[in-house]
Symmetry: C2
Subunit: 353 residues, 2 copies
């Protein structure tokens, strides 16, 4: 009954012990009240919870995590947050993870941080049960992967170079194939001079594979690739952004007047390209056919609506979580799942003649 009254100078310094003392019970009982433990009478529990509320007591998560052995939480690591492509996926992750009665942490990793290192740290800190790497590129991560001791999966991320595929799970689309599909489509429309907006050659990211798909499609159509068709993103502007597509196209368009189609390896780049074309007094698709990649919402809403490769984001996200839980429940060791993407032929491309 000796509720500690008034003159609370340090309301944040209150601990479970204080609550216990206020309630005249032991810390165990307080702990039980908070964690919905069975072995506690309803009335003492109610009383304790009331005192907790009255005093605005908030348990310290660091102490909890330190003590707790397991924690039923999944972390999703994402590099940057600029990519609108991930928004849908994150929502699905959240829903699916909650459906499994796990809690969900979205952790952003800085552009210049190593996401695997962050994961290793986070696993210990939060006693994670599983990890999803959303996007990102994993070139030489093999050694580090081994330090992750819980199931993890690469969702939508590329694994370049020789990282043994028996060491991780993944969900993705075949960037090479889908990119090929698009360029093949453009060729089928009669285009033979097709520029591509992609990452600089020394970069290792999704742009690389998509560029190779482009090359192969050209070859299969008997078209000899010309270096001047490779419009590399600028490095001084954020990658895969509208700004970048705009700047690149602005610079390259007039120098390549015979190009009839432009394939951008991201919808945002394609939109930037369109703007540059408009400002040049030209039209899409009458003067230039423009195609994107990703299938963002905006590709539908843009005017003209963008021909693009739609990745089945929702399904991919669901499958990501499904595989992860399969691994957690030891039903399976690792899985690689490649989804087919869909070519959406819309208004930004047209047959040549």
């Amino acid at each position: 009954m000796k509720q500690r009254t008034m003159i609370d100078q340090k309301p944040d310094k209150i601990t479970i012990t204080d609550i216990a003392r206020m309630c005249g019970v032991g810390v165990t009982t307080v702990s039980r009240a908070m964690n919905n433990h069975p072995d506690i009478s309803e009335e003492t529990k109610a009383m304790i919870m009331q005192v907790i509320r009255d005093n605005h007591y908030v348990p310290n998560n660091s102490a909890r995590n330190l003590k707790r052995s397991a924690s039923k939480t999944i972390a999703v690591l994402i590099k940057g947050i600029t990519n609108p492509f991930f928004n849908h996926m994150i929502k699905v992750f959240e829903k699916e993870i909650q459906k499994n009665k796990y809690s969900f942490i979205l952790h952003r990793v800085d552009e210049n941080q190593d996401e695997v290192e962050v994961a290793i740290e986070l696993e210990k800190e939060k006693r994670l049960k599983g990890i999803v790497f959303l996007g990102g590129q994993f070139s030489h991560a093999n050694e580090k992967f081994k330090q992750i001791t819980v199931p993890f999966i690469l969702s939508t991320g590329g694994v370049t170079s020789e990282v043994g595929s028996e060491n991780y799970s993944s969900v993705s689309v075949d960037d090479f194939k889908e990119s090929y599909k698009m360029v093949d489509y453009l060729c089928g429309l009669g285009h033979r001079k097709i520029a591509i907006i992609t990452s600089p050659p020394d970069h290792v990211d999704v742009g690389t594979l998509r560029f190779e798909g482009y090359l192969k499609a050209l070859e299969d159509h008997g078209i000899t690739f010309r270096e001047e068709w490779a419009w590399y993103m600028r490095e001084d502007i954020e990658g895969f952004s509208m700004d970048n597509g705009y700047a690149v196209t602005k610079h390259r368009l007039s120098a390549n007047p015979d190009v009839t189609a432009i394939f951008a390896v991201a919808d945002s780049l394609a939109i930037g390209a369109c703007k540059a074309i408009f400002e040049d007094g030209k039209r899409v698709p009458e003067d230039y056919s423009v195609a994107g990649y990703d299938g963002l919402d905006i590709s539908f809403y843009y005017n003209p609506s963008l021909t693009t490769i739609r990745q089945p984001v929702e399904e991919m996200a669901e499958e990501t979580i499904r595989i992860l839980f399969d691994m957690i429940h030891k039903k399976v060791k690792h899985t690689h799942r490649i989804f087919p993407a869909e070519l959406l032929a819309r208004a930004s491309t047209r047959p040549l003649l």
Copy 2:
């Protein structure tokens, strides 16, 4: 003495004590080596760090946070991540915070969580030095604000109802005024039947103030508001999304043939509206003038480019951090800074007649 001798299967269970033993030094010394403490010889430090690297030892952050008294970290809390409007701001936050030698945590708070409660928890867990609430609405948060014991600032967020402004700092634009400005502009172009796409009346968010600005501008131009001009976002679709603007316009357009202009309280809504207009066989701005709000990148790239209210996001973000550090360094108690926004008159609106 009951140190683990049993076959180490868990390489992640290695602790600072293990490292100390391996190095033949005390735990204190290891701790010093890791934290760049001055009181340690270069050679022992190098030796210890090598052992740490060899064994892939990673210190447990929960234990660190628990023990550490202070931590020089700022957290930015953001509700949802769908809003592309925040992307620029986050980058600036990160840069500015690092410039101050603090570290930066971006913490996403779930749609159905109370961000202030999350903040209170996080403050203890991470020993935060300051908090930024990015966006969000704070109606009855006054009591809870008091439980936050470190400086915090509301950036770009609305505070509706009577939360004493002496209890927090804030950076924002005057939604009422800027909204008024836009509608006033439309009226100046000769429009008198102007629809608005905004949040449902019972919602408390940025839409509310912007709606009021719209109402006032109409009134000042001697226009009597008609209920049928209020196109409320659908609740079964994500708020402020292109999908929502599209659905609403699709539904309302034909029922209101005499409307000549549409003011959407977000660029994304405006884009959705444009699409619906196009599908109706009409044009922007020839048949309808459409205006947005926010000044997203896409508003420039869209076709036609969107007339909008551009919030000075970079400056606002910089000021947010500046004020926060002023508070941290006790130079100031709290500050409210309102930024002017800029009306960008572009191609999606035109004079009537």
